[in-house]
Amino acid sequence: MQLFIEHLINGLAVGSIYALMALGLAMVYGILRILHVAHAGVYAIGGYVGLFAFQATDSFFVAIAAAMVVCAIVGVAIEKVIYYPLLKYPPYVPLIASIAIFLSIEEICRILAGPYILGFPRRLALSPLTLGSVSIGGMQILVLLTSFAILLVLWFISERTELGLAMQATSQDMAMASAMGVNTKRIISITFAMGSAVAAVAGVLVGIYYNQVYPTMGAVPAYKTLAIIVVGGLGSIPGAVLAAILLGLAEALLIGYAAVPLPRDALAFIAMIIVFMIRPQGLLDRKTR
Amino acid sequence: MTMAEKGMILRVEGMSRYFGGLKAVDDVSFHVSRGEILGLIGPNGAGKTTCFNVISGVYRPTAGKIFLEEERIDGLPAHAIASRGVGRTFQIVRPFAGMTVLNNVMVGLGMQRYSSFLKSCPVFGDSQDREEAMAFLREVGIEGLADGSSSVLSLGNLRRLEIARALALRPRLLLLDESFSGLSEEEIQQMMELVRNIRERGFSVLLIEHNMRVAMSLCHRLVVLDHGKKLAEGSPGEIRTDERVIEAYLGRGASAHA
């Protein structure tokens, strides 16, 4: 039982990191209908910036903030320079561009920081929380609290502010939103900035959680998060969050209990194919498409 | 009744199509006689295009039966219905935009070839195929545009191209979905002439029309739909004086048939 709860909490922590990653991807898809594979490159940049900032200042909050700022800038640059001019072409064109950006980011990280796995200094040791016989690692608490806080802030922005309303309107129907006086170009940029900043947090958290930052750290998440947002119903943000957390739990339990030699990373795709067969519109329905 | 049945090209019995809770077409029955032009009219959202989509196999009917002459065709996939001799055009034109005008028609011409794998292997577009396809373009009056791209045609010419393409199937029944909308007065006259000629060559036509004047002067009979249900059926003269029809059109604001 106690082992089960530990698996559960581990799954929840991993799932919430997936959720942070998938969130930005779902936001971008919702607004531009682009599969933003390079999002995982932004996440890797977040991991590196966070690491270097942490080494320089020894502060978790500075690390997070620096990563968010840098990634927001990178995200907006990708949108303005590459995606926006390609919007009029069929979807595979921006998709290939995105893959090319991702490849380039991985290489830039490798050239600048070296091909090795870098670790966070051990100074961030947090004491575990013990509840009865169950002990929850300090890292897990940090990850869960940070993710939860970010999700809460995003929920507040999208549901309770003018900006959120404009973002929703733009993703529903860009021409209509534009006709209603929404500056859609600016909304798109804000979407990219926010999504990328959140990916940066995910990058820093993963770096701390696994104590690993390396150039290709985005490779598996890049495609796994695609599967997640499909399962969540492409473009649906709550759906993506739900799917991400379920996947994190499923992976943790699979590794914890199942004896099948099934690769953990294939689970997302298997889930995706099952979803396609029974519910092509994803877990949570979204009418506009 | 038996006399009429003998001459029936299309018979629709109790056809319904629901989208979730929306009854787009609700228990509609009518028929098209051989050599007839039947008009399907009604206000916006009456279910006319849905009717077409069910008859041509784009959607499955929720209920009801559809017969093409003796054969039951409801529920068959679109390509199977097309190959049985139902040609159609689209309200929002759908040309094969990356192809030349001639090749657009050539696609319809190939239908017999698609029936078997071996027949679909030979090279298309020999001089005989070309001549055949040109004849259809000539019939609709756009043979001069044959070798140009279909993506640059005007709306009127696109509607003609869609008719030529449908005729290339040599259909028993031709479905025309608002072939007159968006055309100038002159183009409308030409198009009416074209539809009459098509009928005289022996094709049976079922058409959706918004323009009352066109529908009244072109069609032998009219079926009026409203809210997915059949409201009335009869000759243009009967429909013009039918109170329910007048109410359906005028009672709900003039915008419906503006």
Partner: protein
């Protein structure tokens, strides 16, 4: 002519063949696929198993493995009947991941170590190595290119293109999207399988990573870069993308970055492909084919 040039040219020839197959699926039928490396791999693993476990000769294994891959392609093309565009792209990525996982985790396929000892083919007592093998690849490339040309000019090709342009209107013209999509996946996969066979017998040793998602990206990039739906597009794309890493080889450290940047530049400024409508090459030489 050194062995190095021959090796690079052989690889380019193989990739051109595989990319031409992808062009049938993506270019002619309009079905986006980001999992083509899976079929490349299925061809390679089929021939590797047929030759090393069953002792078949290359000349028997070649058609057999091609056929097997075509049939599996028909099966894995079924999702295209249900999902489109972006959904299909992600599904095919998933197929690629799952196929690679099977190679990697099922012991029968040799796991991470892959399969070695795949024989070099012989013809008339001559082992086909170096230039001989290159010749074999080029002959098969020429044959498949002729086949693609024939396909593009056939009624089947016309129907496939009509389906790509307007699926609903094609249905109204009697064209079954089921039949022509599955056919495109079968032909395209079979060509990938043929390329896989040539690859396996060329390098003599294969492992799951040779057929991962990055290879699928490269293949799709070749098709898009050259110009989708153009017969010569994927071949030109394979030459450009196949030789770029070699051109950049002296800059070992920056090689892959330059590759990524070059791909990005082309797709950003020539999104229709080098041979596509309105491309620089077409504007410079306006009297092109077709």
């Amino acid at each position: 002519m050194g062995g190095y040039f021959t090796t690079v040219a052989t690889m380019i020839g193989i990739y051109a063949l595989v990319a031409s197959g992808l062009n049938i699926i993506v270019g002619f039928a309009g079905q986006i696929s980001l999992g083509h490396a899976a079929f490349f791999g299925i061809g390679a693993y089929s021939t590797a198993l047929l030759c090393t476990k069953l002792g078949l000769s290359f000349w028997w294994s070649l058609p057999l493995a091609t056929l097997i891959t075509g049939l599996i392609g028909a099966l894995l093309g079924i999702p295209s009947l249900r999902v489109k565009d972006d959904f299909l792209a992600i599904t095919t990525i998933g197929i690629n991941f799952i196929v690679r996982s099977i190679f990697l985790y099922v012991p029968f396929f040799g796991g991470a170590l892959g399969i070695g000892g795949i024989p070099t083919p012989t013809l008339l007592d001559t082992r086909l190595r170096g230039e001989y093998y290159l010749t074999l690849v080029l002959v098969l490339l020429a044959l498949t290119t002729w086949f693609v040309h024939r396909f593009a000019r056939s009624w089947t090709g016309l129907a496939t293109e009509a389906m790509r342009e307007e699926e609903t209107a094609a249905g109204a013209m009697g064209i079954s999207h089921v039949r022509f999509k599955i056919l495109a996946f079968t032909i395209g996969s079979a060509m990938a399988g043929l390329g896989g066979v040539l690859y396996a017998h060329f390098v003599n040793f294969i492992s799951p990573d040779d057929f991962g998602f990055p290879v699928s990206i490269m293949l799709l990039s070749m098709v898009v870069l050259g110009g989708m739906g153009k017969i010569w597009g994927p071949i030109l794309g394979a030459i450009v993308l196949g030789s770029l890493p070699e051109v950049f080889r002296p800059l070992v450290q920056y090689r892959m970055l330059l590759y990524g940047a070059a791909l990005l530049l082309v797709i950003r400024y020539q999104p229709q492909g080098i041979l596509g409508e309105g491309s620089l090459l077409r504007r410079l030489f306006p009297r092109g084919r077709r």
